[in-house]
Symmetry: C2
Subunit: 135 residues, 2 copies
């Protein structure tokens, strides 16, 4: 059974943060990477390393007005064959101003690899959809 989820339920499901997947149109076509994210004031915040491929791709894209990205979060129980997925679509921007950086830093976005991932990126959702699969 496949059930569509409303936006409020989607936001509730993704509120704890964790691992999500950022998708964008990169130099080799559609590109997807897992990142640690937090939901902060109804926006998605994550970090990446300056001058990484992700940074460069996003920076190139973001330079264009209305650069659209997608962010996907899901949780599945493969044994029970149940789970949910949420798709956030919206525009992405680098967090450049000191004030915004200080604000999003309070979200406590985690990163796993060592090294500086000093660049904050933020996705402002324009569309939030989700689905739940039950047996």
């Amino acid at each position: 059974m496949l059930e569509e989820l409303d936006e409020a339920e989607c936001l509730r499901l993704i509120a704890p943060g964790g691992i999500g997947r950022i998708a964008y149109s990169g130099r080799y076509g559609p590109t997807v990477f897992p990142v640690n994210y937090r939901l902060f004031e109804q926006t998605i915040v994550f970090r990446t390393a300056q001058d990484s491929a992700t940074d460069e791709d996003l920076r190139t894209g973001i330079a264009h007005a209305e650069y659209k990205v997608a962010f996907e979060i899901d949780d599945f129980d493969t044994a029970a064959r149940e789970g949910w997925s949420v798709l956030v679509q919206g525009s992405a921007h680098h967090v450049d101003s000191e004030a915004e950086r200080a604000a999003v830093a309070t979200a406590g976005v985690d990163t796993w690899p060592d090294g500086d991932r000093e660049l904050f990126l933020r996705i402002v959702p324009s569309r939030v959809t989700g689905r739940r699969v039950r047996r």
Copy 2:
């Protein structure tokens, strides 16, 4: 520690099949959905419902030559903060011919939601990259 994985290691990691995420440029911009996939003759095979939004978006895109999609597979241990991700980039096509359909059907692609998901889609990789994160 972030380690780049070579293509052989990537293919070994994704060989068991399971849940992956298809990303493509859809009607609302970049779009990502989780699907059950199998690796079949070094291509990604999954199923979707005919006339679903995914089908329509992909059908529209695939009609253009060289329609690029991405497929992401990962496995993380959040407690240990370790895991890997693989990104397959390539072109997608519907499996339309009887012969190809019979072949990919042997891959045993599973679907969770009830109902017919009678449409097979196949991604022929042009680029396979991956990363492993260790503490």
